[in-house]
Every structure is written in structure tokens, then in C-alpha cells.
């Protein structure tokens, strides 16, 4: 299985690469302006990054094309997640109370991304902005005390996103979330 990490300039982009490598998939970090036709992959992870997605979407390269045209499972993380949501019609705004470091995730809707996970666990965050006004067509899967939209699944498409950082050691069950994502990829290939 080949799952590449699209680099949106995150502090933890390389951590995503490491988690995937540890899970035994073929992986590589690629710049976010890599043409979709050059991506012969089974799935993508859209990394986080320092851009304020709402006003600096130009720094998000070809993320929109990956979401629109590749028809493969994609997991957006932090800025990658925010971009995915805003591209599909949600709004972004500066968070009233931003989250840095520890937070408690509460799962609202179980699906394949969160299968076999507890209802609530510790995650690590690092974001100034937040997603709001989620359109029809997108399911909200989880929240924290200060952030209503922590995870989403796009209905009818294998697109997933998380605001928190499953690739970080301090996040509980982080590797399990990646494993679940890889199961989704496996199922999608069939």
C-alpha cells in the first residue's frame, strides 16, 4: 500500500511520515504543488501547516485538486482538515479559544475512522483557527470543550479530516486512528 504525505509546512508532517512508515506502508513526503497525475498512490494524508487557511489558501498548493480529482481516501490533518472543510463549503474563523497542547476529544459519531476507540481520550492540538458552519454532506464526528468540529467524514466520499494531531506521541490512540485509516484504504482498493 502506498500512502504519501502532502507537506503543507507542518511541524509534525515528518511525524505523519514516521507513523505511516512504522505501520509498514510505502510512504514519502511530497510538496503540496505535486501535480495529481504524478501521485500514483492509494491514499493521501494532507498535513497541517502554519498557513491561516482562510486567508492564505494560496499556500495550500494543489490540495483542492487532490480532494476533487483523485478519488482515493484522503485524511486531512489540522490545516489539511481546515482546507478540506472550507473547500467543501464550511467556514473558517479565528477560534474564540484556540487550542494548544492537551485537549479531551469526545466522539459524537462512531464510524470506520474511530472504530474500537473509547468515547473520550486525550489528544494534542495546535491551532489558531476553527471550522464552523459545516454544510449538509459532511458529518461531524467529534468535538472538544472549546472546539465543536474536531473530526469529519464527507458523506459518499472517502474524505476524512481531524483538527487534532493523531501523529503526535502525546495523542492517545493516534496510531490506532492511522491504522483505521489504512483499513479504510484497504477496503477502498477492493
Amino acid at each position: 500500500m502506498r500512502v504519501y504525505v502532502v507537506d503543507n509546512g507542518g511541524q509534525w508532517t515528518h511525524r505523519e511520515w514516521r507513523v505511516l512508515k512504522y505501520l509498514g506502508v510505502e510512504t514519502k513526503i511530497v510538496p503540496n504543488n505535486t501535480p495529481p497525475k504524478d501521485l500514483d498512490v492509494d491514499a493521501l494524508v494532507l498535513s497541517g501547516g502554519s498557513p491561516h487557511v482562510s486567508v492564505e489558501s494560496n499556500k495550500m498548493g494543489l490540495n483542492s485538486e487532490y480532494i476533487d480529482s483523485l478519488n482515493i481516501p484522503i485524511l486531512g490533518i489540522c490545516a489539511g482538515f481546515q482546507f478540506m472543510c472550507s473547500h467543501l463549503g464550511a467556514e473558517l474563523r479565528p477560534a474564540e479559544i484556540p487550542e494548544f497542547g492537551q485537549a479531551t476529544l469526545i466522539i459524537d459519531e462512531y464510524n470506520e475512522l474511530f472504530s474500537n476507540l473509547p468515547k473520550s481520550f486525550t489528544v494534542w492540538e495546535s491551532h489558531n483557527d476553527e471550522v464552523t458552519n459545516i454544510p449538509e454532506g459532511i458529518n461531524i464526528l467529534a468535538h472538544t470543550e472549546n472546539c465543536a468540529v474536531e473530526a469529519i467524514k464527507v458523506k459518499d466520499k472517502p474524505l476524512y479530516g481531524v483538527q487534532f494531531h493523531p501523529e503526535v506521541e502525546n495523542t492517545e490512540h493516534g496510531a490506532d486512528i492511522f491504522k483505521n485509516f489504512l483499513s479504510i484504504v484497504e477496503a477502498w482498493k477492493k
Binding site: 511525524r15 497542547g101 492537551q102 502525546n170
Partner: protein, 315 residues
């Protein structure tokens, strides 16, 4: 999972191909650079010269410890005392990024001189992933310029070799254990050393203060861990803050500086949580610092910030 033996074999083979002729390695005696020294030494033997620079910012007793460690390691090494040079270069500089860049450049100028003498074209560094990630690049913000990446001058003529570029600290430790390197469990210590644990200008007087405070923090936490009162934190040290506060010492007014204690739990240094040190251990550290260092310090605080939003070091 990470396979240390496979990594070692690949790295040594790769270094054999990459390094034609002589090389020098910058070794601080920490885990990263010592592992790099051993890997390269396996690949090219005596064509490698290991260099330890005494910057004047090292911890108590560190120069001697590293000399002994390098002797035991049986590598070709040289110790350079450059403390005058470093203090002179940092005089009047208080911006943390400037401090880091000046230190980075100083290191390189010293290595260039040694490389010339040793007829070496290559500079090996123990750079690991967080160093280049946090130093920033075209797409990544600069969190802090690590001296060995973001602190490199543009006009350097040494070819850089970084065998552990993609590894994190936990993986480097696995490699160190596989190589039987004694310092495998040593706590991380930044390249710019105590210069970035003095907030503001790193002059001799203030570095001496933070050196003493770091020694007390290390001693007490190591003792408490050995006695089973706590698990030794991932990293632990003292920072000298420039803010003064009022105190009372033996009925006399005191107006001294502040020491912050920092101790964190981490795996890879890319995220961290502050350590839950037992109060009795914090008490002991606070009492020792304010008594033994009463001339300079009359207040001790404990840093309870995670990474993010803070970083582990203060600068």
C-alpha cells in the same frame, strides 16, 4: 517499527560511499553527535577527526566528562577551547535567534579551521529531524534556528553529512544502545548550551549562575529518581530569567533574579508535557537554589507549560 541494526548497516554503507577522503565531526558528547561519530568512525576509521568545542556554555564538569567519554570511545579526537571567542561574539546580544545564529556561525568557523588542518572536506553533524523541522525552510515556519541547521552561515565550504537526518531522539537512543554507547540515556542538551538558558545576554556571570542552578536541578531530580520517588524526566534544567523580585533574607531586603525550573516528558521532543514532579522534590530544589545561590537568586518558579504552545527550552 524502527530497526536499529538495519539502520546502522545502511548508514555505515552509505557513509562509506559518501565520504571520500577525510572528515571531521562536531561532537558535544550528547547522544546524537556521539552516535554520528561512532557510525562515521565505523565507516571511515581514522579518516575521521572528532572535535569537541568548549564554548564556555557547557554544564558543570562536562568538559572533563566528554574528554573521558571520547577517550573511552577510542576515536581520534581533538578538544578546542573557544570560550573567549564565544563570549566575545555574544556580547550585548539578547535576541534568541541572533544568539543561535552567532553560535552556529562560530561553530562553523572553528570547524573550518580544524578541517583545513586535517585536510578534511566533510563536516559530519548529529542533526536529527526536530533540528531541521524547527529551523524552518521554504514551507515551514522557523520556530527556532538550531545551530547545526538554521545557524549555518551561507558562505561555508564544508560538505555537510548528516547520517541521522530522519531520526528522532527515541530512535537515536535505540541506535546508541545497539552500538553500546554509554551516553545512550543522557538527557537532551541543546547545541547553544547554557547560552540559551540565560534569557537575554549570555555573559560569564549569568552563565555561571544558570550553570549552578542546572547542576542543582539535575542532582536533585536524578537523586529523587534513583530513590524511586519519581521517574527521571525526559529533559530537566534551570533557566535564568532577567526579572528581579523583592524578597527577604534574614530580615534583610533582597532584590534578586528568578530561576525557572523546567522538566518535561516527551518521546521525540516534538511535543511534550510538563513533568508532574512531586512537591517534596520541588521543595528541595527551591530550598537549595535560594540558599546556596542567595547572592543572586531569591525566587524559584516551576514552568507548567506543555509543548505546544511552549517549546521545551525557553529560547
Amino acid at each position: 517499527m524502527f530497526n536499529a541494526d538495519a539502520f546502522i548497516n545502511e548508514a555505515v554503507e552509505d557513509l562509506k560511499k559518501k565520504i571520500q577522503g577525510n572528515a571531521i565531526i562536531a561532537c558535544s558528547g550528547g547522544v546524537d553527535s556521539t552516535v554520528a561519530a561512532v557510525l562515521v568512525s565505523r565507516a571511515i576509521g581514522d579518516r575521521l577527526l572528532t572535535i569537541y568545542v568548549n564554548t564556555g556554555f557547557m554544564r558543570k564538569g562536562e568538559d572533563e566528562e566528554v574528554r573521558k567519554m571520547l577517550t573511552d570511545l577510542d576515536v581520534n579526537f581533538q578538544i578546542i577551547d573557544a570560550s573567549e571567542e564565544f563570549y566575545a561574539a555574544l556580547k550585548g546580544v539578547s535576541d534568541p535567534e541572533k544568539k543561535r545564529k552567532i553560535i552556529g556561525e562560530k561553530f562553523i568557523r572553528i570547524f573550518e579551521r580544524s578541517a583545513k588542518e586535517f585536510n578534511a572536506e566533510y563536516l559530519v553533524q548529529g542533526t536529527i529531524a526536530p533540528d531541521w523541522i524547527e529551523s524552518g525552510d521554504g514551507v515551514r515556519d522557523t520556530i527556532k534556528s538550531h545551530h547545526n541547521v538554521g545557524g549555518l552561515p551561507e558562505d561555508m565550504n564544508l560538505k555537510i553529512v548528516e547520517p541521522m537526518y530522519d531520526l528522532y531522539k527515541d530512535e537515536v537512543r535505540e541506535v546508541a544502545r545497539a552500538l553500546n554507547i554509554k551516553v545512550s540515556e543522557r538527557q537532551p542538551f541543546p547545541g547553544p548550551a547554557l547560552a540559551i538558558r540565560v534569557i537575554g545576554e549570555a555573559n560569564r556571570e549569568d552563565v555561571e549562575i544558570v550553570r549552578d542552578a542546572c547542576a542543582i536541578v539535575e542532582e536533585e531530580l536524578e537523586k529523587a529518581s534513583a530513590e524511586g520517588k519519581m521517574v527521571r524526566p525526559w529533559q530537566y534544567f534551570a533557566v535564568l530569567l532577567p526579572c528581579q523580585s523583592v524578597g527577604v533574607q534574614g530580615d534583610n531586603r533582597a532584590y534578586g533574579k528568578t530561576i525557572a525550573i523546567r522538566a518535561v516528558e516527551s518521546i521525540d521532543g516534538m511535543s511534550a508535557a510538563y513533568s508532574r514532579i512531586p512537591y517534596e522534590v520541588l521543595d528541595k530544589i527551591s530550598m537549595r537554589i535560594t540558599r546556596e545561590m542567595k547572592q543572586n537568586i531569591n525566587r524559584v518558579v516551576y514552568d507548567i507549560t506543555n509543548k505546544p504552545p511552549a517549546t521545551i527550552e525557553w529560547e
